[in-house]
Symmetry: C2
Subunit: 412 residues, 2 copies
């Protein structure tokens, strides 16, 4: 009520808003179509590579060769893009140079090789890095201001994330939330959302669809189901912390012992190939989508989540490429599935809660993950998914998988 009377100037403050919308509609269209198409190509290739490996499992024996290819590619041509997602985050906070475009083909190639030969990894890192690298080229082309360049990096991340998972709202918020925990750049909200929608649309236009998961029954929230959800959230958070710390651990482990970088994934590949041969299943390598789907439907071995955690952290720590997120989905969904043994919530609900909550804990993005749960499983489970994501965020410690992330406030 202390505001001055409406001035004439304030009446035309919509004009710059309109210019802003038109400008970012154009840039979102360009970035969204390109990043969405890149995601589509990546998803199709990834499917092909996964199918080929599953029908020719002997290829896993060549994983050390794959490791050398990936390691050498990054060692000789990719020193300036090897930091991946962290590099995008660092460029956002302290801009130094345009992200080299080669980040996109290198991460695409590295991820496909990793999956082809049987490493355990994800895909969001790949999509996000392709999106970010593609988007940032327009910073130079259009001579964007530093403020606009920050938005460009955000929409690149948003486009990659939204299109690779088919979750535009989560992608739009993820790109804002992941950079500084607790401080969203609201001026980037519309560009981020527009690009997410256009990238997701583009990916679908290429006839690439995403896996569907169903939570058939969601109980009402009562005192007991609330406490069970808190308990599950704590366990999801601790698992997320274990994942982040184990990735760091293996990374340092390999760096300390093997100074020639391309040799690390060779040694790592030998160990993984032997482990797959010893266990006698390919369940824990690749993306693991069949197991994620199964964890909504039938009881799984309680140790599934732990083995996937070990395989993935070892794969990534050894220097293979790919994202962390689909394995985090696997770990969370399989853990949720196992928790149904002693937490009296429906198994599919626990799997869904774990799916997004372990991811939330590892990346410190509880709101994006809640939205993702709603987009993937429907609004009914929103409250349970939200509780799990927020509690997992709180219990996952202060270091997530993105070391360059800045935290605005303490978690508690």
């Amino acid at each position: 009520m202390t505001k001055p009377r409406p001035s004439f100037y304030s009446k035309i403050e919509q004009l710059p808003a309109l210019v802003f919308v038109l400008k970012w509609l154009l840039l979102s269209l360009i970035v969204g179509v390109l990043a969405g198409s890149a995601s589509a190509f990546f998803l199709v290739s990834l499917n092909w590579v996964t199918d080929w490996r599953e029908s020719h499992p002997w290829i896993i024996g060549c994983l050390p060769v794959g490791g050398f290819i990936v390691g050498a590619a990054y060692h000789y041509w990719g020193q300036d893009v090897v930091k991946g997602n962290n590099q995008l985050i660092e460029e956002f906070h302290s801009p130094k140079q345009i992200i080299p475009l080669k980040m996109a083909p290198l991460v695409l190639f590295g991820t496909l090789v990793t999956h082809f030969f049987g490493g355990s990894a994800g895909r969001e890192g790949t999509a996000v890095q392709m999106g970010g690298a593609i988007a940032d080229q327009f910073s130079r082309l259009f001579k964007l201001s530093p403020a606009d360049r920050r938005i460009i990096l955000i929409i690149g991340i948003s486009a990659g994330f939204a299109s690779v998972f088919g979750t535009p709202l989560a992608g739009a918020v993820f790109a804002l939330e992941v950079l500084i925990v607790g401080r969203m750049r609201y001026e980037a909200l519309l560009p981020s959302l527009l690009t997410a929608l256009i990238a997701d649309y583009t990916c679908h236009a290429w006839n690439v669809s995403h896996t569907h998961y169903a939570i058939p029954y969601v109980p009402p929230l009562h005192a007991d189901t609330l406490v069970y959800s808190l308990l599950a959230g704590i366990l999801f958070g601790l698992t997320a912390m274990a994942f982040s710390k184990t990735v760091h651990f293996w990374g340092i482990f390999f760096k300390d012992r093997i100074s020639y970088a391309p040799l690390r994934p060779v040694v790592g590949g030998i160990v993984i190939a032997l482990a797959v041969w010893g266990i006698g299943t390919t369940k824990y390598i690749g993306l693991g989508v069949p197991t994620i789907v199964a964890s909504f439907q039938e009881p799984l071995p309680a140790y599934d989540f732990l083995l996937k955690l070990l395989f993935t952290t070892f794969t990534l720590g050894a220097g293979f490429k790919g994202g962390e997120v689909t394995p985090l989905f696997f770990i969370g969904a399989a853990l949720g599935n196992a928790l149904a043994l002693f937490i009296p919530l429906p198994m599919a609900l626990l799997a869904g809660m774990g799916f997004v909550a372990v991811f939330s804990g590892a990346t410190n993005t509880p709101i994006a993950c809640t939205l993702m749960g709603i987009e993937l499983f429907g609004a009914d489970c929103g409250v349970f998914v939200g509780l799990a994501c927020v509690v997992a965020y709180l219990f996952s410690g202060h270091s997530g998988i993105y070391g360059s992330q800045i935290t605005e406030n303490a978690k508690h």
Copy 2:
């Protein structure tokens, strides 16, 4: 990857998190049950008052008397709580004194009198002020630190909002988003969510239910539906700005002309009573829930939104009490309904988009409003609702209905 090895200390960082959760579980339980019960009592009384007025429309002729009662109550006993929602926001930013508990009964009484005699107002302000005033008493009782007191104010707002609308996720995020646009206090995320859930549960436990709205058909997002959504979002944003500016305008109009505060709602009451008599309908006074429901179902007069805007801003500017949000729902839903005349999107979808988007523009809370749309209408419309809320936020100018709100970044 530049992180140090996991230290032993970092392994016990979960202990303070556990203490934090238990502490806020207790405080959330107390505040949630009390604020949820207050909301339940308020909603039941409001129903009774509304039904009585609708079956005895002559009472509207006494609106000037009601105006004097409200005006005098605040003039003689409520000078220190008259700023309402803004007072909660100001206390959060620059703490001066515990919110007087009398804010709760005064705003409850003022709102019920306003609705009983036929003013046009809402209910979220009432619920939020009751929640905030109740919650803040525990700051003194438990001798909370300044940091904890900020969380207490947040959970009071969250509890009131979540329980009065039956939307816990939106309530939890609204309380964080409304205080500083662009800077959420993530340490308050869990307390805010817990209190929202408990308050909402408590309100339902008192057998108070909320109105349901349905959007039967949501089209796929294509280039055309995207552009229509942007266009609708712009109009929702401009309407939100018109609402905020008109409330300010009437407030200053009355203050400039009538120095004795209790006389302002008397004069305002005379004008409103005459206007209702002249128009011959009670459609534009009170909450207007029947018209909100109708706007999802059948074509309404295109001027409905404009009349509701005038009635509400005039009612509040004259010094009557109540919230702004349900009238904002009315204005948005009725405008969406009217837009269906020339924007080729389904009428119910446009009504739902307007419902939350005008609110988003007026309060600068696009993420909470998107969540609210999903909680009220289902996840299918999430993308359309999200677009409308973000664009309306962008086009609603820099002054919303909460003058004390701080904006972290420019909108664009």
